[in-house]
Point group: C3
Chain length 357, copies 3
């Protein structure tokens, strides 16, 4: 395994991703083979904002591997409320645990924490930024159901502007070939430019739609997300438009027999109850896959990196300079963090939150 | 085992109840025999309202069987707060867990959840409706201490109108013979008609009392519950009456030597501290029995139903009709639920909350 | 082991403390020897006020011994909120668990609970009173780094008036010989008389300082604690003085090469970030030691006292008399508690909170 921390899905080289998928598939079929694979190991789930679903999934993954779980789910009950730095918290917790899964509302928090973490760290969501284990699940489910992620017609529906999961998925799909992307959203909530660029990077075709009806007949994959009521300019605007993005049996009549419907869950009103029983809906299978992928990830990381790093001696030094303009970037919240600027072609961006500087 | 889900104590056929009591008794004497009986299995404790005692007891039960526990104890930190349906939550959680224990403030919630649960579900209390594992404990303790539940003089004291535990106990005692029931309460807080009907169904004699002193000398079993201060019409009313229903050493002087005193706990003022050390008080033993019965229940259900049901294909279909007048019935909270009306003799009642329709 | 409950560090006889240190040191080197030492055992962590760090540490300790953990971290979700007595809670929980670790904001609560606890009880902090497992860590770290706790120059810096940890440490250091204590604080926050008396009991020399610079060059051990902003009489007072008590690389230039810097953590501003990487800072090692000492304590207590005490028959009887003037003493909160007055020479003090009566 070439990566110690999983901050972004793109941290996983293609070959290792193949191996992890194979491992997850084996865990799904032969769970009993792994019941003591992590015996004696401890996972810390540090949830600075509550996310019951994700936390239960990580906990179950560790329990099914025979390990134990410590952690918190409430920012107010943590030492953070006493003013402790993320750095100190992560140093101590990674002295107790063998692997850490962290969710934090601040962008770049997982990467920042990984600089000081003595054991492998998994990003379980850092604000609106990244959520790589969700992306693993999405990619794995497409792959399992469709035999691969190339040459497909893929719809993404809902709030494409603010949706973290669709941005991560776009990045993950970027290296794949021959796909056509149907981006189904309102004008105000359409996919941001950097994400469409990623989708079209390897010749992906982009088609923007204003309703599900326009394109549903053409799709191999439909990735649904929620449009929050408060994103619309007015209540009447919401009422008039919301139904266009709700998936129901009526709309599904036009869809292919081998369409697969995905959703990161939890869902609210965007998919009618009746669709749950349609054989094409795969979101519950997707949630189940998440479990096996997290098991595979935890097992792989703890096996490859069994030794705790020393608590002292980070190479990154605090510069004192404020350089990132993103107010929800961790570099503006934890003041000891070193300045990290990355460059790709012309573009310079913050090493924590990936925003241009 | 003929039941997959335990919603109500009456779900357990008499013969299987005997077997479960035998198993619990063996667990009490030989706990070491069971230390890995549920190894590799996961219990989910979904507590939509906090109940530390019950949750700790379920957790301990699973740990003593060698299993693991996931769950939440705070409705606000669950995905519910994001608007997810109970149906979706239970589908996902039962994909992670091998058995579910759920507490919910809404009546009928456990039964509603069981319609979609892929693994056995245990009702750990649904509002003022049912709490079958408490009733198991009550029945087991009477049986163990008295050799059976027939031919006894049984007092029930406190708020008999609103007390969930005494109603459940009345239903459980209903098939037994030759009992005399002393119902000790205020006029305003007396046992509702449907409960006294159950007690008298098999020839049980009902005697209503207005104080403990009236009947304590006659009792074989005294089941104490709390009268909440706010149930009285005024503070002066409370002060003048409350003492009548408080058990202390003075009142106990008149009681039989082999009386047993039960209480579902937690208790507040209704039993004097001094009574705790009286050999006749059995409420701590009762709480201990709860542990072994929950162990027996978890082990039995996970052994008999090791396979997860498919996530799709419930047979119950949403009708759209609102038919139950109970505002705290789950059928009025989760709108996709099918209409379920049951009938017994002349009576038609809601399949979720058991109220007449 | 001569003590069943650990309420105060002084409960541990010197010889048994040696043994526990040896055991903890072995656990640090050979953790794999202990992975199933507590298999099948249950630790209850009853945290009536949140303290994530301490709770995670206790949980990890039990998991690394192969045991399980139940408990709560939020007073509002416990049965306490229903008005249950500490006595009832502890009786029930100690029926479920094999060892209890309790934190409570009320002084003397751990001792009070131990009167009714059926299994060994560990005080994980009772208000501003005692926190013996922290003191174990402090003493162990000094011992391990310095070969013993005698003949040293020991600085204690920060809020010495209100700091629970420095008071406990003073008591623990009291029997040791040949030490010089540098008490570094403001005039208003200096060490209380009873604590300096303990330090000087065996000939310890006391030197009061008003800044770190005065004495840092002389120290073998520097125990840092926080001065809370609100302890200063004004914001300007805070700004002018706070820096005097902040440890940074500049001040450390004058210190000995073999100084060790300790801190109970979490820290906020009182130690500059840069100091973390100085080889003399030992607070992270100290936090790690806490884990092994808690493992050693849990294992020792559960091995020596495997049998649950009977739930009935406390020898202490409620007297009804209010005798302690400390409003945050548990004897003034739980009214059934017996009066316990202890005497040492001329001094009479409360058996719960140790305040003079």
């Amino acid at each position: 395994m070439s990566f110690r921390n999983l901050i972004d899905f793109s941290d996983i080289p293609a070959k290792e991703w193949e191996e992890m998928c194979t491992l997850a598939a084996d865990m799904k079929i032969h769970p009993h083979r792994y019941v003591s694979a992590c015996a004696g190991k401890v996972l810390a789930t540090l949830f600075y904002e509550p996310s019951t679903r994700t936390q239960l999934s990580f906990q179950t993954a560790m329990f099914r591997l025979g390990g134990s779980v410590i952690g918190f789910s409430d920012p107010n009950s943590s030492s953070v409320s006493k003013g402790e730095t993320l750095r100190d918290t992560i140093k101590i917790v990674s002295t107790y645990a063998d692997v850490v899964a962290m969710r934090n509302p601040v962008e770049g928090a997982a990467f920042a924490a990984s600089l000081y973490c003595r054991v492998p760290l998994i990003n379980a969501g850092d604000g609106g930024h990244l959520h790589p284990t969700q992306t693993m699940t999405d990619m794995y489910t497409i792959r399992e159901e469709k035999g691969g992620c190339d040459g497909l017609s893929i719809g993404m529906c809902g709030d494409l502007l603010n949706g973290r999961t669709v941005h991560s998925l776009s990045k993950a799909l970027s290296p794949h070939f021959g796909n056509t992307y149907y981006l189904i959203s309102t004008d105000k909530l359409k996919m941001p430019g950097y994400a469409t660029e990623m989708l079209s990077a390897n010749g992906g075709k982009i088609i923007e739609c204003r309703s599900l009806d326009e394109c549903i007949a053409l799709l191999d994959v439909l990735y649904m997300t929620r449009i929050q009521r408060e994103r619309f300019s007015s209540e009447s605007d919401y009422r008039s438009q919301a139904g266009i993005f709700v998936l129901d049996n009526e709309k599904l009549k036009k869809a292919k027999d081998d369409l697969i419907i995905l959703h990161p869950l939890p869902k609210v009103d965007e998919i009618s109850y009746e669709v749950d029983d349609d054989p094409r809906s795969k979101y519950f299978e997707q949630a189940e896959n998440a479990l096996y992928l997290r098991m595979a990830l935890i097992l792989t990381l703890t096996e490859k990196f069994p030794d705790r790093l020393p608590v002292k001696g980070e190479k990154y030094i605090f510069s004192g300079e404020r350089y990132c303009k993103n107010p929800v970037c961790i570099s503006n919240h934890e003041k000891y963090l070193p300045k990290i600027v990355k460059q790709k072609n012309e573009r310079k961006y913050c090493g924590y939150c990936d925003r241009d500087v």
